[in-house]
């Protein structure tokens, strides 16, 4: 076993799921491998760090934020706001006026002198969506001030992510001291932001004080950003000394931020501002293209180790934005990855590469993947190759190769843990077209000739091809009953546990409760008891279930106690 295999075992062992032989193998490896020993020791320290309780006010704060966020979304045109040196609306507090007037001239001057790419403040532009006004011409053409204010949203110019509207937002309750601190904070951050090449700042504006701190950009401020073509709105408030919050204008969502704690004027505000600037620069203000360019630089750097170059490939796998990043997998990237795979003697690296390229439809991948499927000595690599070949089912010969592997690969037995498929299983799944997937899952579930584990495994949401079945409803209304029946009859604790785990994706069915209660109360396998407890927490409306879960607080197994108290 190599280090990675042992790490896999140790991860599993966090839930005490190893056999004695596996535990001994892991212990022996740790005793002889100082690298693994150090890595695990370090992580154990991190895992043991305490987590303080959340504040009791958090639920209320969230409720308030939900309410105010929704209100802002519902009534976008009812709330006056300003950009520029004048605060509109009588309700705006004197503090806000003082805050703005004290700053505006200074900002305007420094903006023009510190950087030619910085846009001076849009002084004198008073904006009220109820009384539309025309903006003055911007001193910098690249500002793209947008359509005349008050026109339809459809007229608004495209947003530039590197244009930021900076708004101050004094809280209604802010005192003079708080204003001073926030003012200094504003200056320091603006000054730092001006050092970023290509960033355009629109300063001198203020937002109206809000009763609640919104985690959504207030609609009027969002409108300001849109009309000025600014991709971001940076709000600097007096809250807790100084809170700087960067919002994405398009979505109104947070895109970064930070808070300078403490009521006193900070002594190291510049450090905080620099920190803010660096994070904005490296995060929200780095566009996808730049991020891709950085990743490519790493990937193509032949002087780096294979492992290091691989990090470049991982950078291209941003889970929540796969569409944008997938475009980065051009022939050069794929070619570099294939090249590394061809020469790497490290099975982990080869597996990582094929995993990283899953879903990339580049024909130059087909032959190397087929080669890996047939001849790579490591089962983990063949398994990943099979999974990644799913993308090429339309290429002649690929489906047949997968079917052959499903029938002939030497790795035919499921691995020792439930979550790792054999190569045969992986190839079998990979050979199924997406359109047929749910019916394939269903046919497996219904196939009484298959071993129960294999039947359930088709349903389990943790296979290597990423096609997770989160909802039992997708494979048929009666599927939950079938899974329950398999679990009820199956004596193998792993399979029984898997059945209860799978059922967590189904609608709660009270007819399952008696069997689950029996398992929670009596099953000798602690993990079956824990899985039953997790499932039962969905029936906590029943007094009998509640009592059983409460009794489980005395279960000798920590896994069961946690499951009964936390659910899932």
């Amino acid at each position: 076993m190599n280090c990675r295999d042992i790490n896999h075992l140790l991860d599993i062992n966090l839930h005490n799921r190893l056999t004695r032989a596996q535990s001994e193998a892991a212990e022996q490896h740790l005793a002889s491998c100082p690298t693994c020993r150090e890595e695990w020791a370090n992580w154990n320290v991190i895992a043991a760090l305490p987590v303080p309780r959340m504040s009791a006010a958090l639920p209320g704060r969230i409720a308030l934020a939900l309410h105010s966020g929704a209100t802002a979304q519902q009534n976008p045109s009812r709330r006056p706001f300003v950009v520029g040196s004048l605060v509109l609306a009588g309700a705006a507090v004197a503090a806000a006026v003082a805050w703005q007037i004290a700053q505006s001239d200074r900002e305007d001057t420094s903006a023009q002198t510190t950087s030619s790419s910085t846009v001076a403040s849009v002084m004198g532009i008073d904006v009220d969506v109820q009384q539309p006004a025309q903006p003055e011409a911007s001193p910098n053409a690249s500002l793209k001030p947008g359509a005349p204010l008050g026109t339809d949203a459809s007229d608004v110019v495209p947003l530039d992510p590197r244009t930021i509207v900076v708004l101050k937002r004094p809280e209604a309750a802010a005192d003079a001291q708080a204003i001073v601190v926030a003012d200094q904070c504003h200056d320091a951050i603006v000054s730092q932001l001006r050092t970023i090449a290509g960033v355009k700042l629109i300063t001198g504006g203020a937002s109206r004080p809000e009763v609640a701190r919104p985690n959504l950009l207030p609609a009027p401020d969002q409108d300001i950003g849109r009309r000025l073509g600014a991709g971001h709105v940076l709000m600097i408030s007096t809250e807790n000394g100084c809170r700087a919050t960067l919002y994405n204008t398009q979505t109104g969502m947070l895109d970064g931020g930070g808070m300078y704690g403490g009521p006193q004027p900070p002594t190291d505000l510049n450090s905080f501002a620099r920190h803010m600037m660096q994070n904005m620069r490296d995060g929200a203000l780095t566009d996808t293209a730049t991020m891709i360019a950085d990743a490519r630089t790493t990937l193509f750097d032949a002087a780096l180790s294979d492992e290091a170059r691989l990090e470049g490939l991982w950078k291209l796998m941003r889970p929540s934005d796969p569409g944008a990043i997938r475009g980065a997998f051009d022939k050069d990237v794929v070619g570099a990855a294939v090249q590394i795979a061809a020469k790497s003697a490290n099975a982990d690296t080869r597996e990582s590469l094929w995993a990283g390229l899953r879903g990339v439809h580049d024909p130059q991948l087909v032959q190397p993947l087929l080669q890996a499927l047939v001849s790579d000595p490591a089962a983990s690599v063949r398994r990943q190759a099979a999974t990644s070949l799913h993308t090429f089912l339309d290429v002649p010969g690929v489906r047949e190769a997968l079917q052959r592997a499903a029938a002939e690969d030497p790795d035919s037995e499921p691995a020792m843990v439930c979550c790792v498929e054999s190569v045969r299983e992986a190839a079998d799944r990979a050979a199924v077209a997406d359109d047929d997937f749910h019916s394939w899952v269903r046919s497996r579930l219904l196939d009484a000739d298959l071993p129960p584990r294999s039947r359930l495994f088709a349903m389990a949401p943790f296979t290597s091809d990423g096609r997770m079945v989160h909802s039992l409803a997708k494979v048929g209304e009666d599927a939950a009953g079938i899974v329950f029946d398999i679990g009820r009859r199956e004596q193998n604790p792993q399979v029984r546990r898997l059945a209860w785990d799978v059922l967590r994706s189904a609608k709660p069915d009270p007819t399952f409760v008696p069997v689950l209660l029996g398992d929670l109360n009596n099953h000798p396998d602690e993990y079956v008891r824990a899985s039953a407890a997790r499932l039962l927490t969905r029936h906590a409306g029943s007094a009998e279930v509640r009592e059983a879960l409460e009794r489980a607080a005395d279960d000798p197994s920590m896994e069961v106690r946690r499951a009964a108290s936390r659910g899932w």
Binding site: G69, G257, G258, H275, P319, C419, V420
Partner: protein, 184 residues
């Protein structure tokens, strides 16, 4: 906000707030940031309430939302200055040791403080996996939250622990130590 949605959302989410907060704290090592992260996750989750019907278990769905915010958009977790993070450990880090030899240089408090700084330098995609692991979620559960297949997940956990140790070594090397504001 339709009151019915609001009530439904509260009923669904409130039982899981503590779990969300714990995960968020692990990520940020900072209570204020953790609570903000949870709040944003709730805001975003509320906006997607209609998705919930098909999204499976509520807690996993909420953690998925929180995970996505942390990974992709919100840099809140790495934005606060260090003076806001765990005072106890910061103090421990400042404790002096009488002329330690290299072997003795890391007493447990110092090591924890160094590790915490290393933790905050760790790539967010690695941090989130280890944080969920530290919270006791199983590989299957983390797979469901992060949408990373199990095979890739175990590999990435392995790499995450390697990276943590690399970050620690950088933290321990005086010449390589970065000012705190440069911490990712």
């Amino acid at each position: 906000m339709p009151g019915k949605d609001n009530k439904r959302f509260s009923t669904l989410v409130e039982p899981h707030l503590d779990a969300l907060y714990r995960a968020a704290y692990r990520l940020t090592r900072n209570r204020a940031d953790a609570e903000d992260l949870v709040q944003e996750a709730c805001m975003r989750a509320f906006a997607r309430l209609t998705e919930l019907r098909d999204a499976g278990p509520v807690k996993a769905w909420l953690l998925r939302v929180l995970h996505n915010i942390f990974i992709d958009g919100t840099r809140r977790a790495r934005l606060s200055p260090m003076e806001e993070t765990s005072g106890t450990l910061a103090l421990a880090a400042e404790a002096t040791c009488p002329a330690p030899t290299p072997e003795e240089s890391l007493d447990s408090a110092q090591r924890a403080a160094q590790l915490e700084r290393a933790w905050l330098r760790l790539d967010r995609s690695h941090r989130v996996l280890l944080a969920l692991r530290a919270e006791g979620y199983t590989l299957a559960e983390i797979s469901g939250i992060t949408n990373i297949a199990i095979d890739a997940l175990t590999m990435r956990l392995y790499r995450a622990r390697q990276s943590l140790t690399r970050c620690l070594h950088e933290e321990q090397a005086p010449s390589a130590r970065l000012p705190m504001e440069a911490v990712k």
